[in-house]
Amino acid sequence: MRTRAALLLGSLSAALVAFALTSPRVVAADKIDPVADAKAFQNFFFQKFPNVKHEDFVNGPYSMNADMKRQWQEKEEFPPYEFALDAGKEMFATPFKNGKTYADCFPNGGIGIRQDYPYFDTKEGKVVTLELALNRCRAANGEAPYSYVKDEMASLTAYMAFTSRGKLMDIEIPDDPRALEAFENGKRYFYTRRGQMNFSCASCHVQSPGERIRAEILAPALGILNAMPIYRSEWSGMGTISRRFVTCNSQTRAVPLEPQSDEYRDVEYFLSYVANGLPIAGPGARP
């Protein structure tokens, strides 16, 4: 009887010791750690493409293919986004009916601030993207919102990105559990397979950058938003980050979410944060 009790006590203490030893690891694995995630994310691409200069990743497929890069450099002499850029500059300076302008809604008059977006709004408890902030600015000044996917919104963000060219992406995650959750939700969205094709964002932009998918060369996920908005020849026009997410979804045969839905805001937060330290290159041009 005594032997049995001793055995039971012994096993119990062994189990307790084992639990004590393993549980911190379990907690550590589940802890949301954006700094470690961003480091791992960047290292993955730096190691996968050791010959690509770090700041070149923001140029998407052009960083992966020398021929395409030369063609793009030629194209940049008369870039296809130029009309949108000019229109955006004019729109940005044109006062609303109440006499105020976009500059009144943004820090530093909206100039050179693209690298700080999206940010986590601790009052709202959600991620605020530049596109969302622009439409909120319009609403606050009694103007109707713009479509999130193209036209005016693309022009405005093109101009704002242009004033930030070369500045390094600088997304902050405040010490707020909701901000960490938004980052984690964005990460989950990025890696989750969806649509009949059973593709996640990562299927193309992590597993296959530089590879062809039909006639396209896939861009690396690292810095993929730094060149937004973009003129896409495929679209014969400009498109915003919202448009990019929507078309990516439909290409995998998933019904896209509403532009600026929580999921899209969070995935933009995740992708921008892991690109911290890489330069803003928008507006961009893509095939």
Binding site: F44, T192, R193, R194, G195, Q196, V206, R253, V255
Partner: protein
Amino acid sequence: MSAAMKRSFTLAMLLALGLAPSARAANEADYKAAYAAAEAASKEAAGLRNQWTVTVSTMAAAKKAADGGDFDRATAAAKEAEALAKASIFQAASEKEAWKAMEIR
């Protein structure tokens, strides 16, 4: 009748009974039942924010065929739409954990 013959006869009868319903042309009631099942599954997928474009287009095709009075085609499309919606529901459930396998660590 030998035991083997009896067995084959029963098997043949079962097969014939099994095949009979599919040989019959689908009617409006069949279509309505199949479409309702597809709609329920598709609503569940949409609720999970994991609807597939092909589910939506296949349901539209079912409706179009039914409007044209082609209940065979309409029922078949509705059944396909239901299967697609169910696959998207399965995907949403399995990805709750499976996404982690793809994560860069």
